[in-house]
């Protein structure tokens, strides 16, 4: 890999807590990621992976904790600052969440036009380039309802990339897809990694995680149980619970 | 008592209570008649033979298509031209019932259509007769599905009963208009009249909500606006 990882972290997450009602979902999570690094979150259903990723982007408002982008803490009560921060953190949802009333091109363009206030012609050019990057140039004028799941997810990746994010958060990007469509999305994510994109991804695809991750983070019941290099966590974890989960999931998904 | 309050308590309220009683005498029979007409027309449209279906369809199209005021004028001012004379009260009740029945039939029809074929087959399979099927399978389901719509229709009827005044049947609105014209206290009078209608409508929708809650079973939940 050609990634230049400098020592200062791009994003740090400190002591994030979140409860829904009196049920604690995140019990103080710490995380930091350097430029070009790829971290993969694994853990059983309900562990809090989605909640953590959405908290990092303040789509879920954490009850406590601190998030810094390039050393600067983010203040979610400052509306303008929050919008600016979110532009720099790309988010990919499990269920794509493409804007249903806009074409593929419109989906990618709208952030540039409305948020970045770019001129429409310029935005169109950039959006088209991003769509071609994910292999969807020919489908630019189709509406979400006319695209396959894999294509939708690639559009949503293009939508995030168009804003030049410093970090991408991917929440199970392929778990809503039919098995034969997973490959095309994985290929796009792999290319992103190769191009040096900093990413935090939650996934149940253990083989893909092993191939892609610099580090795997195992979460359960809202806390990080163990983290480390893929081979260590997946094959030879220190913690009993991690081993149990990884054995089960590798049996299911293969290596 | 003197002044505004005196006017409201001594002059306005007795007249308005008289009007309210007349309104209720308009609303209740019209609601009952309208509902039965709706059930009749709705059933004809879904289960009827052709000779029943098209007259029912025509009835619904006409009575939903004509403004209620036009219908009332036809009953009250139009029919005398062919020798039929209806009193203001009768013309109003006829007008309300026929119009309301057309709207009810839409909800009844929708409810009947929503009952899946499998339900009827299952009823036959356990050996029910036609009547038993209707009583024990179709009605309990259809009533639940039609209730929100039919309930709304009754709320509408409460409000539209004010149109009886236009054919000189002096109910709540009419009593109000008479006093207001005599005293020029339009704002006070119609504010009070409005409050009475608001109360009527609110009580009726509260009661309908209670009935719906009582009848709610899983799979037949209501989403009220």
């Amino acid at each position: 890999m050609t990634t230049a990882t400098d020592s200062a972290p791009v994003l740090t997450v400190e002591g994030i807590r979140k409860s829904f009602g009196n049920k604690e979902i995140l019990g103080g999570v710490d995380l930091s990621i350097r430029r070009g690094e790829i971290k993969v979150l694994i853990g059983p259903s309900g562990a809090g992976k989605s909640t953590l990723l959405q908290s990092i982007n303040f789509l879920v408002m954490p009850d406590a904790g601190r998030i810094c982008l390039e050393g600067r803490p983010v203040d979610p009560s400052d509306r303008k600052g929050l919008c600016l921060y979110r532009q720099q953190v790309g988010m990919i949802f499990q269920e794509f969440n493409l804007f249903d009333h806009l074409t593929a091109l419109g989906n990618v363009e709208i952030g540039l036009v409305r948020v970045k206030k770019m001129k429409r012609s310029q935005a169109r050019e950039r959006a088209m380039a991003e769509l071609e990057r994910v292999g969807l140039g020919v489908h630019a004028h189709k509406y979400p309802a006319e695209l396959s799941g894999g294509q939708k997810q690639r559009v949503s990746i293009a939508r995030a990339l168009a804003l030049d994010p410093k970090v991408m958060l991917l929440d199970e990007p392929t778990s809503a897809l039919d098995p034969e469509l997973i490959g095309e999305v994985h290929a796009v994510i792999r290319d992103l990694g190769a191009a040096g994109m900093t990413m935090i991804m939650a996934t149940h695809q253990i083989g893909f995680a092993r191939a892609l991750a610099d580090e795997i983070i195992f979460m359960e019941n809202g806390v990080v149980i163990e983290q480390g290099p893929p081979d260590k966590i997946l094959d030879d974890a220190d913690c009993e619970r991690t081993r149990e989960f990884c054995t089960k999931i590798t049996e299911l998904g293969g290596r | 008592m003197t002044g505004e309050l005196g006017f409201i308590v001594n002059d306005l309220m007795p007249a308005l209570m008289r009007g309210l009683w007349m309104s209720i005498r308009l609303i209740v029979p019209s609601a009952v008649l309208g509902f039965f007409l709706g059930v009749l027309a709705g059933s004809c449209r879904v289960y009827g033979v052709r000779a029943l279906r098209w007259p029912a369809d025509l009835y619904v199209a006409l009575f939903r298509g004509f403004p209620l005021l036009v219908q009332l004028y036809i009953w009250y001012f139009g029919l005398p031209r062919i020798g039929i004379y209806l009193s203001p009260y009768v013309a109003s009740v006829v007008g309300f019932s026929l119009c309301s029945g057309a709207y009810h039939s839409e909800y009844i029809r929708g409810a009947l259509l929503s009952i899946k074929k499998g339900q009827l087959q299952a009823a036959q399979a356990v050996g029910m007769t036609r009547l038993q099927t209707i009583l024990y399978v179709i009605l309990p389901q259809a009533v639940r599905r039609a209730l929100p719509g039919c309930g709304n229709e009754i709320i509408y009827l409460i409000k539209y009963s004010s149109l009886a005044y236009m054919v000189t049947c002096i109910e709540l609105t009419g009593e109000g208009k008479i006093i207001a014209s005599a005293t020029f206290k339009y704002t006070e009078v119609f504010a009070v009249v409005g409050v009475i209608y608001l109360a009527l409508v609110s009580v009726a929708s509260w009661a309908l909500g209670k009935i719906e809650d009582r009848l709610t079973i899983p799979g037949f939940e209501y989403h009220r606006a």
């Binding site: 789509l59 269920e95 009333h101 006319e146 | -």
Partner: protein, 221 residues
């Protein structure tokens, strides 16, 4: 005495002028209803609690009082009391529009609430403010969903507009009654007016259906 047919023939141009008045009243109040109903719907979904309360009261008020009572209250009562010298025509549009805004706000509220939560999340995730997300993402979708509801609202307003005759607005119903009382052909004239109302409902609904097909999103149900 004239025959029903000759009366109809002679009065038809006069009645058709009333159709224009009816249509202006209906389209005017439908537009006013949208103009007011849209912010009400947005406020009721996204606004702070006190605002939601106030909007709820407004809706309750205009949906709970008969049109005829509101027409009398505003035309003979409130507006003169406030020294506002509005014509019957203007009051008709204001009152019908206010009632319609209450109903339209509920149509739109339903449409907004039916849009999946993910749309708002995705909009925020690309850095849109809530206001931008509502304007560029939520409303374009909600307004499309609301068209069938409008179609219904149009036909309700059309029929209700006949009631404005009580204030002396020279719309279709008023003209039919006027001719009827001079010629004693009540039955024929009211039937004729009724059918014209039906035709107007049919045409308007057709137009809105065409609009619905035109702006409908491909493959979107």
């Amino acid at each position: 005495m004239s025959t029903p047919f000759s009366v109809l023939q002679q009065s038809l141009p006069y009645l058709l002028q009333g159709v224009w008045v009816t249509l202006v009243v209906v389209l005017g109040s439908l537009s006013l209803g949208l103009l007011v109903g849209l912010p009400l719907a947005v406020g009721q979904v996204y606004g702070p609690r006190p605002l939601k309360r106030i909007i709820g009261l407004y809706v309750w008020f205009f949906r709970g009082i008969p049109l005829l009572v509101l027409l009398f209250l505003f035309y003979f009562g409130l507006f003169p009391f406030l020294h506002l010298d509005f014509s019957a025509f203007t009051v008709a549009i204001i009152v019908l529009g206010s009632i319609s805004s209450a109903y339209q706000s509920q149509i739109l509220r339903g449409a907004i609430l039916s849009i999946p939560e993910g749309q708002m999340k995705a909009a925020r995730a690309i850095g849109m403010s809530d206001a931008q997300a509502i304007v560029h993402i939520i409303l374009p979708q909600a307004l499309r969903l609301a068209i069938p509801g409008w179609s219904n609202e149009y036909s309700v307003l059309l029929k209700d507009s006949a009631v404005t005759y009580a204030l002396g607005v020279a719309e279709l119903m008023a003209r039919a009654h006027h001719v009827a009382s001079r010629t004693y052909q009540h039955l024929v004239l009211y039937l004729c007016a009724g059918f014209i109302f039906m035709i107007l409902t049919f045409l308007g609904t057709r137009a809105l259906n065409a609009l619905h097909r035109k702006v409908k999103l491909k493959g979107y149900s």
